[in-house]
């Protein structure tokens, strides 16, 4: 195909001009501050501390305020939460004997922390869960059987109160069709959005 001499010259000039401009852009980048930071040893603060409050990292359970309602186990779409909450025959109290979360299966979707009435199960900013053994991927939160938490109108226990407050603050982040959540009874928690 024959190109006219004008087109020929135009091609040469275009190539030279655009290459020149491209080189100017990259040269300008050469003297700019890089936008990456050396992880993990040369970051200014620990990365986990810079993450937003809503960050969905590895799950954690505050057994002090877990009511044993199993809402999280039902909500989990990938069945990574296993809870055993039998009723103790003598004391007629609900006991928590097993609360295992398999963080290798977990897909960090947050569907378990939404229906929790007290915010016991919540995401932490921790994201470094890599380890050498498959067994360490199952986080077992119950060391010895504990009684499930019974939510009260006003919590007075000095150990439990701050934990509950933190849990409720976590739940407040979630949207709801009407106002914020309150530590509801397990059956009420089921019908909340």
């Amino acid at each position: 195909m024959a190109t006219s001499f004008a087109t020929y010259l135009r091609n040469i000039f275009d190539t030279a001009a655009t290459v020149f401009e491209g080189m100017a852009v990259t040269c300008s980048h050469f003297v700019r501050r890089p936008s990456t930071v050396q992880y993990p040893d040369r970051t200014a603060v620990r990365v986990q501390d810079t993450l937003p409050f809503r960050y969905r990292g590895i799950l954690e359970v505050d057994l002090e305020i877990c009511t044993g309602c199993l809402a999280c186990e039902r909500a989990c779409p990938i069945d990574c939460i296993v809870i055993d909450a039998p009723k103790d025959k003598q004391t007629r109290q609900m006991l928590l004997t097993r609360f295992d979360i398999d963080i290798a299966k977990c897909m960090y979707c947050g569907l378990c922390s939404e229906p929790c009435p007290t915010g016991a199960i919540h995401h932490t900013p921790e994201f470094e869960g890599a380890d050498f053994s498959l067994e360490s991927m199952v986080r077992r939160y119950v060391k010895e059987p504990v009684a499930a938490y019974k939510p009260k109108k006003v919590e007075t226990d000095p150990v439990v109160a701050p934990i509950l407050e933190r849990g409720m603050r976590y739940l407040e982040e979630f949207a709801s069709p009407d106002g914020g959540p309150t530590p509801a009874e397990p059956d009420e928690a089921e019908s909340a959005a």
């Binding site: 190539t15 655009t18 491209g22 990259t26 936008s35 779409p77 949207a175 709801s176 069709p177 959005a193």
Partner: protein, 386 residues
């Protein structure tokens, strides 16, 4: 002989008495530039291709089947994985189809939150698309610049919903979290810094004569072909067909927003070539910036999610909705049988349709152009295989 189920013939192509053979190459599932696990069986005569047969299925994860086991609410995080590059649109699609089945109306503020998240994700997805396109063509720097901007969007979305790729931000009936305090200022500040970056990107690579030479005129798709082959999104608009689901079958709050739909060729090249598809994406990013600014100005107050029962049991029936994903018209179809588990769910994605046209487009192209074509059609493997 049979190759992966395809009948492959070894022809003797003779010209001026010289006996030559067609080469069958395998651009295999592991390849630095097939945008995921895709495989092509390429029949080439030297550098010129005769045919490039796509072989899909390497990333199939039975996502549609999983919906039948986890229920409507539980399926939302799985939709992120249908197209993890533009996950918000998949979330929105599933939310919308479930709402249509169940007759739920999303509050206005919830719709605005959805649009904000979706348009931010559109910018991020287009950045990835153009970044990897120029990377495949050989320019290594603009890729990093695009990803640097994408990182900032990821940070914004992380603040919004807690995750950077698989957002699970939307719920049936609205969105899971309202905008955090100060979000509008943060996003607007980002957009102000982002617009000059787009111009710089154009100066660096879009106008570059070598890049234009690689893309202009390559794999031209006429408007009729684009419609016949089911192309959608930027691929369709680059061929001159003015169709955008946000305009033609509006959903959510798009009727209240003013934006243009970029159609047609870029500053170089012809209608329907690879450069046009690239240019349409760059222009769409500018439009998304416009939409975002408007959203923040127009957002009303109020709840962001409607009341939806925990055991969501829509009445029996089926529903089909469309969203304009970053890759085009994404269709969601769900069939309900009255229980809390859907009977069947199906996703229609733009990338799957685009795979079909590669076979036709690759005839007569050079080997180096196959990569350009795949990249310009913005094919992502998770969408193709689900």
């Amino acid at each position: 002989m049979s190759l992966a189920g395809f009948e492959v013939e070894v022809e003797q192509v003779g010209q001026s008495g010289l006996e030559t053979e067609e080469m069958t190459l395998n651009m295999g599932p592991q390849h630095p530039s097939t945008h995921g696990v895709l495989r092509f069986v390429v029949k080439a005569d030297g550098e010129v291709m005769r045919q490039a047969i796509p072989d899909v299925g390497y990333l199939h994860r039975s996502i549609e089947k999983i919906s039948e086991k986890v229920g409507y609410h539980g399926f939302m995080p799985y939709t992120d994985r249908v197209d993890y590059v533009a996950a918000m649109f998949c979330n929105q699609g599933w939310g919308m189809v479930s709402e249509k089945l169940g007759g739920i109306a999303v509050p206005k503020r919830g719709e605005y939150c959805r649009v904000i998240a979706a348009e931010l994700n559109r910018i991020a997805s287009h950045l990835l698309s153009v970044g990897t396109m120029v990377l495949d063509i050989g320019a290594i720097t603009p890729f990093f610049h695009a990803f640097r901007e994408r990182e900032k969007i990821n940070d914004l979305l992380e603040e919004l919903c807690g995750a950077r790729l698989t957002y699970n931000y939307m719920r049936i009936g609205g969105v899971a979290w309202d905008l955090p305090p100060g979000y509008a200022e943060k996003v607007t500040a980002f957009l102000d810094r982002f617009e000059p970056m787009l111009e710089e990107y154009d100066d660096l690579i879009s106008a570059n004569a070598l890049y234009v030479g690689r893309c202009a005129g390559v794999a031209v798709v006429s408007a009729e072909e684009a419609v016949n082959y089911n192309l959608v999104g930027p691929n369709l608009r680059a061929s001159g067909v003015r169709y955008d689901v946000r305009r033609d079958e509006p959903y959510s709050v798009y009727p209240e927003l003013e934006f243009d739909v970029p159609v047609g060729p870029g500053a170089h090249g012809v209608l329907g070539d690879s450069y046009a598809r690239y240019a349409v994406r760059i222009r769409e990013m500018t439009e998304s910036i416009k939409i975002l600014r408007q959203c923040f100005r127009q957002m009303p107050d109020g709840p962001v999610i409607a009341k939806v029962p925990r055991k969501f049991k829509p009445p029996a029936g089926d529903a089909y909705i469309r969203v304009e994903s970053a890759r085009g018209d994404m269709g969601w179809y769900a069939v309900s049988d009255g229980t809390e588990y859907p009977y069947r769910c199906k996703v229609r994605t733009g990338s799957f349709a685009a795979m079909a046209i590669i076979d036709k487009l690759s005839q007569g192209l050079m080997l180096a152009d196959l990569v350009t074509v795949i990249a310009s059609l913005d094919i992502v493997a998770p969408e193709v295989d689900r």
